[in-house]
């Protein structure tokens, strides 16, 4: 029973962090139709900045600066590279592949700088734990859940109540109509990329915090597990991303927690379990759980 609670809490924390990343995918996809393959390296970029800066600025200052700079980088990538391609659905496919090129360059540079090191981020939680009844939880995990909940609520409010959110939803609904109604597509898009970059930098902190050993060159790859989360929920649906992230986080934690019972699947199945779940969902619902079925006009 304690094991189960342990796994559930761990899964919840993991899912909360995935939700930050998956929400980034969804925001970018909604605004530009692009699936951002460079998200993992943006995340690593944010984490690297925190690691480098926290000695001088303290953790909070470093985090704030890292979030801002990563947001600016993501916005600039979109504004100066991707938006040259245009706004229609076809160029969105081309731009998706452009993000792969960006990812290769960015990731190579970061991996070269980080090398084989394990960087600490100087976060205030350290390896402290809290007793919650029968289970012991790392403080960083509780912080991940709390911060993600607040931030995600903020992002949903942004979608719902701000002019920018309205423009974003209008542009996602019908690009041309939105442009005709005076929505500045380029600005809405760049804003979405900034938001996604900021979320990625924030997620990096929790991915590198205890019980993880620290930030390493492969930390960005964890963001890949948020792909299934975003797809699972339906790529254009923020609610779906949230649900998908929780499903993926819980699956991963449960598979890892009950590894001995799942021995026939092989060691390390937890790493690939998200993908197995995603395939099963796509078999039943090719557009994801919350995805709308696309209506094609002739």
């Amino acid at each position: 029973m304690t094991d189960l609670l342990d796994s559930l809490l761990g899964g919840l924390a993991l899912g909360a962090v995935y939700a930050l990343v998956a929400l980034g995918f969804v925001v970018i996809f909604k605004a530009s139709g692009v699936l951002n393959f460079a998200h993992g390296s943006l995340l690593l970029f944010g984490g690297y900045l925190v690691a480098v800066l926290h000695d001088d600025l303290g953790f909070a200052g470093a985090l704030a600066l890292a979030v801002l700079v990563t947001a600016a980088l993501a916005g600039a990538l979109d504004r100066f590279l991707l938006q040259r391609g245009g706004h229609d659905a076809h160029s969105a496919h081309v731009q998706t592949i452009v993000t792969i090129g960006i990812d290769i360059v960015l990731l190579t540079e970061l991996a070269r700088r980080i090398g084989g090191d394990l960087l600490t981020l100087g976060d205030p939680w350290g390896d402290a734990v809290t007793e919650l009844g029968p289970v012991t939880v790392a403080d960083s995990r509780l912080a991940a859940i709390a911060v993600s909940a607040v931030v995600i609520a903020g992002v949903f409010a942004l979608f719902r109540f701000t002019p920018w959110g309205l423009s974003l939803r209008a542009a996602a609904e019908d690009t041309e109509a939105a442009a005709l109604m005076g929505v500045h597509l380029g600005r809405v898009r760049a804003g979405a990329w900034c938001l996604a970059g900021a979320l990625a930098a924030l997620a990096a902190v929790f991915l590198a915090a205890f019980p993880a050993p620290g930030l390493e060159r492969t930390t960005g790859q964890i963001a890949l597990n948020a792909f299934p989360a975003a797809i699972l929920g339906g790529l254009a649906s923020p609610t779906g991303a949230l649900a998908g992230s929780l499903v993926i986080g819980l699956t991963e934690a449960l598979v890892v927690g009950y590894q001995s019972e799942l021995h026939m699947l092989g060691d390390g199945f937890g790493d690939v379990a998200p993908y197995a779940v995603m395939l099963l969902v796509l078999l039943v619902r090719p557009n994801g759980l919350f995805g709308a079925k696309g209506a094609a006009r002739v």
């Binding site: 229609d88 659905a89 496919h93 299934p228 797809i231 092989g266 390390g268 557009n287 995805g291």
Partner: protein, 380 residues
């Protein structure tokens, strides 16, 4: 008019023959390093052509190519190897290709229904799950350390360096022999793929890419054609995997990861989507660049030799910068890739050579290759 066509055909045949002869020469003049680059390029080209059929023509984005390469490579190794049925190697090659096709077919419930970006991520799942299987199914795959690949032997002739063989005064080792095997397989791929593109199913796929709805109205069975394209593309990948396994002489799981899949996507993008020649050019570029940069690292500016001080830009990294930048630049400034650049250069040359005559009607310039996907439908 017919004379001109005949002349053109003769010229085309002559060009083909010249190219074939030129491609047969390297084993007599170049050393093993260059031959290995050529071999890997040929294997990559076979796989890239398969992916070009799928992504460029059928408009499907696949990141699962590494998985099908792995099926081909491991399929051959297992079928012909010791833990395994130990079939004759000449039989193991086509069976391994069929196995890759079968794997693609098993995936068709997803490949036929899921489209565009969704398929890209769904196939990503294949790579990760496949890698996991390669690591865990040790009795078949040899686990983390992989297993060695039995050399191919065709009618008593072994593609290996075991028995001395000298042709025209040149000692023929494994690389020299495999070169001709690779060349034959590449020619097979080249002509079948081009034939396929011009056939009825090929045109159906192109219609499907341009507009799914219009194609369906014209009587194209959407799901069936999508899955068929996926199966054919995975069979080419399987063939490439077999050739790679023979060239490496050892297969390890870590080679068949996400990076390899992305490499193949990069090849067809850099080459120009949907064109067989472009895919070949892209394959050579992506394969040869890191190998060449590693070899000539000491002569390149700004690049440190491998194994020098940490933090320096090594040849592998320099190659990856160039290659990432190439993807970005090609897509932003020349969306039809190397193939499109070559075609434009050729057109300009031809126009300059014959400024007064009417445009050559016997050679209608091919329509611009349409890129990644259908132009005007929104992916939900």
């Amino acid at each position: 008019m017919s004379d001109r066509i005949r002349a053109l055909l003769t010229r085309r045949r002559a060009t083909l023959l010249t190219v074939a002869v030129l491609l047969c020469l390297p084993p007599f003049y170049l050393d093993a390093f260059w031959l290995r680059i050529g071999l890997f390029s040929m294997a990559a080209a076979i796989g890239a052509i398969g992916l070009a059929l799928l992504s460029g023509t059928a408009g499907q984005l696949s990141l699962g190519h590494a998985f099908f390469l792995a099926v081909g490579a491991y399929g051959y190794t297992w079928l012909a190897g010791d833990p395994g049925p130990g079939l004759p190697t000449a039989l193991a090659v086509p069976l391994a290709v069929l196995m890759a096709g079968l794997a693609g077919g098993l995936f068709s419930p997803v490949a036929g229904r899921v489209k565009g970006i969704y398929l890209g991520i769904a196939t990503l799942a294949l790579v990760f799950l496949g890698h996991h299987v390669l690591l865990t199914a040790e009795s078949v795959t040899g686990g983390f350390n992989g297993r060695s690949v039995p050399p191919l032997s065709l009618g008593g002739f072994t593609f290996d360096a075991d028995r001395e063989l000298t042709v025209l005064g040149v000692p023929f080792g494994a690389e020299e022999r495999l070169w001709f095997l690779g060349l034959a397989l590449f020619a097979l791929t080249w002509f079948t793929a081009r034939g396929l593109l011009r056939s009825r199913p090929g045109r159906a796929l192109a219609a499907l890419r341009d507009s799914e709805t219009a194609a369906a109205v014209m009587g194209v069975d959407v799901a069936r054609h999508r899955s068929a394209a996926f199966v054919v593309s995975s069979m080419y990948a399987g063939l490439a995997g077999v050739l790679l396994a023979l060239a490496f002489r050892r297969v390890v799981p870590d080679y068949f990861g996400l990076v390899l899949s992305v490499d193949y996507l990069a090849m067809i993008v850099i080459g120009g989507l949907g064109s067989v020649a472009g895919a070949t050019a892209g394959a050579v570029f992506v394969t040869a660049l890191p190998l060449l940069m590693t070899r000539y690292a000491d002569q390149l500016p700004l690049v440190a030799a491998p194994g020098s001080a940490e933090g320096a830009v090594g040849p592998t990294e320099a190659a990856r910068y160039l290659y990432g930048a190439a993807i970005v630049l090609v897509l932003l400034y020349a969306p039809d890739g190397l193939h499109g650049l070559a075609r434009r250069a050729r057109d300009r040359l031809r126009r300059r050579r014959t400024p007064t005559t009417v445009p050559d009607t016997a050679v209608p310039s091919p329509p611009p290759p349409a890129a990644a996907a259908r132009p005007k439908e929104h992916t939900p």
